[in-house]
Amino acid sequence: MSDTVAAHAVHGHHEELGFWRTYVFSTDHKMIGRQFLFLGLFMLLIGGLLAMLIRWELAWPESPVPGLNIIPEPYIFPGEKGGGIIPPQTYNAIFTMHATLMIFFVVMPIMVGCFGNFLIPLMIGTRDMAFPKLNMLSFWVGLMSGVVMLASFFVAGGPAASGWTGYATLSARASYTGVNWGQDLWIISLILVGISSLMGSINYITTIVNMRAPGMTYFRMPLTVWSLFITAILLLLALPVLTAALAMLLFDRTMGTSFFLPEGGGEPLLWQHMFWFFGHPEVYVLVLPAMGVTSELLSTFSRKPIFGYHAMAFSMIAIAFLSWIVWGHHMFVSGMNPLLGTAFMMTTMVIAVPSAIKTFNWLGTLWGGTIRFTSPMLFALGFVSNFIIGGLSGVFMASTPVDIFIHDTYYIVAHFHYVVAGIIFALFAAVYYWFPKIFGRMMNEGLAKTHFVLTYIFFNGAFFPMHFLGVAGHMRRIYNPTQYEFLQPMQHWNVFITISALILGASQIFFLFNFFWSLFAGKKAERNPWQANTLEWTAPAPPPHGNFDVIPTVYRGPYEYSSPEVKEDWLPQDRNLGTQAAVRAH
């Protein structure tokens, strides 16, 4: 530790860097964080627009979408009175790309790429990541994977259309979907994502283990850092499994191997085992940072220490372990041995416990606080509220007999949108909270609160009725629900959901306007506008290259709000009250 600090202290004064080194090929963790943020927001726009098309199709099947006729046949069919009709093949491509973009290019770049990069060094009190150049490479490979993914929209045959889960054999032969290049580019892009996040996660883990400021013991780290630490470990171990599966799939498609094709002796279920062995830890990669941020904000704005800090940290560790032995619950009706289904049901039920612990501790944090309803706090509370619904709805499908019925229905779609799309609340909370530190300006509170109210109402309007559809047996990934007699009485819910979703989409204008307007014209931020305890608030806003004037020394945990030791209701981690000696980290 002391060597690292000393080495960094030498480099404390940085020479002026040119435009390219500052804004484009930057090795500064904060600039890389901002780059990931802009990448993620751009992809969020595209992924969101794709969601609008999915909803349009489900509410008013095979009717022309205004403005879509600019896309040529056979990808879009012209409507008789203008507009464009989405054909089934394009529909499959749209929902495949919606999920792929949202998971790999929105939630991962923003929650892990942006906030991981920006916050880890600042929150643990160091000047940069352990490997700044690797960090830069991680972003550029990530950007490349995004370019490859977007390029697949423009190749003959269109983008991948076998679902984001890419189940073999559908994905393994071009003749089954009619998609040739699109699926190959999808595979290549996700292999690049794997490489990018591998570099990122090595960096995060090394930085957290080795570069914490004096006194920053593991159990004095903010829960945001804990969540990113565990996320990085999951990424490090899970993504290579996906990369391996993707490579095998690419070989099957292009080199004539038969890993997943039964006619050559392969096994389609092998893909599912490998995909979900990655896929379930991936769910926690997405949701853990959101949980960390939520814990951070609930404590800060309740002006109260987090309830059960150790329980919070250990429940995340428990999730990290259990997430490796629950993947089979995606495969209850896949043809996997039913006895394995029973085993996976048990583990799945157990993994609900740490999530329950977290929820109860969030409630405990609110209890007895003095709650400030700022926009980040509102969004954090929105995350909790959605997570309660998403967590509870997961119990249904954990029970194998119930899953027989609701598997591959909208019940599942409702469940994972409450959990994964619910992350958007933590994402917005984090943007509103750290914007002053990232860009040195405040966002407008009035616009932010309007954004929250509209988003909260129409998010629930869009996703809650999906449970009703699921109960009625409405399948996922169907193009036209009116083709089924048993679903016709439910069609009005599809219309209701679509209208809510369209308003939800439109409400995001409040965010986009606020974000870009505040970027240039927002009120200048002070160092610590929220009166928070963690180390990033002791640095200037925005922090310069190298972050801190002097590396801070940490005297206490991150959530000492309303401590009786001081008059004000916050007590920063680095304030020396003279009553205790700093404990060295190592």
Partner: protein, 221 residues
């Protein structure tokens, strides 16, 4: 919410539905408790001048309680699910009524044993998308797929099973009420996935006999 469940005409569906209801009640009560508590806290502990937050880092007894109680409920739930799961998926009852369904893009190919009484031989009688069965009779289905993964879904019989290329999976059901029930494919199988569906016709024994004599005893064209 559960009133939207399709009518159940199977022998095991009521067990699945009662688990569904049980979990629904447990989660609904939990949801209401947690939400009400959260709203009460948000109102009661909103920032007010002159009041300072309680300086508390948690409570070990509470942590133990809210670890053990959910764990106990969830473990009991999984033990309650084991038998129904085994009944539906592991222990198919014996029956002299067996058919084969091969899924392909984008049809269900249904085979009945021909005059030789055996499935999988030359003289099998084949139909596209229509399954005819007698009521109150255990039906065994040899489920396979010819190209990609499909999923055999009978909402009214609470039955779903993926059909996987390269495997034959045995599924079974026993319909308890005559009628016509939809049979959609529930796993994305290509551009024709939506609309890939068939019908299950459940007949009274007399009607079924008539149908079988007409359709199964003569060689199809």
């Amino acid at each position: 919410m559960l009133r939207w469940l399709p009518e159940d005409v199977s022998t095991f569906g009521h067990e699945i539905d009662s688990l569904f209801y049980l979990i629904y009640y447990i989660t609904a009560v939990t949801f209401i408790l947690v939400t009400v508590l959260m709203i009460v806290f948000l109102v009661k502990y909103r920032e007010q001048p002159g009041r300072r937050a309680i300086y508390s880092h948690g409570n070990t007894t509470l942590e133990i309680i809210w670890t053990i109680v959910p764990a106990a409920i969830l473990i009991v739930l999984s033990f309650m699910s084991v038998n129904t799961w085994a009944k539906v998926k592991r222990h198919a009852p014996e029956s002299d009524f067996e058919i084969a369904v091969a899924a392909k893009q984008f049809n269900w190919e249904v085979s009945y044993a021909g005059p030789d009484g055996k499935l999988g031989t030359e003289d099998d009688v084949k139909f596209d998308n229509d399954i005819h069965v007698p009521v109150n009779k255990v039906v065994r289905v040899q489920l396979s797929a010819k190209d990609v993964i499909h999923s055999f879904f009978l909402p009214n019989l609470r039955l779903k099973q993926d059909a996987v290329p390269g495997r034959t999976i045995l599924v079974w059901f026993e319909a308890t009420k005559p009628g016509k029930y939809e049979l959609p494919c529930a796993e994305l199988c290509g551009f024709g996935h939506s609309g890939m569906k068939g019908w299950l016709y459940v007949h009274t024994p007399e009607e079924y006999k008539k149908w079988a004599e007409e359709k199964l005893t003569q060689k199809p064209q």
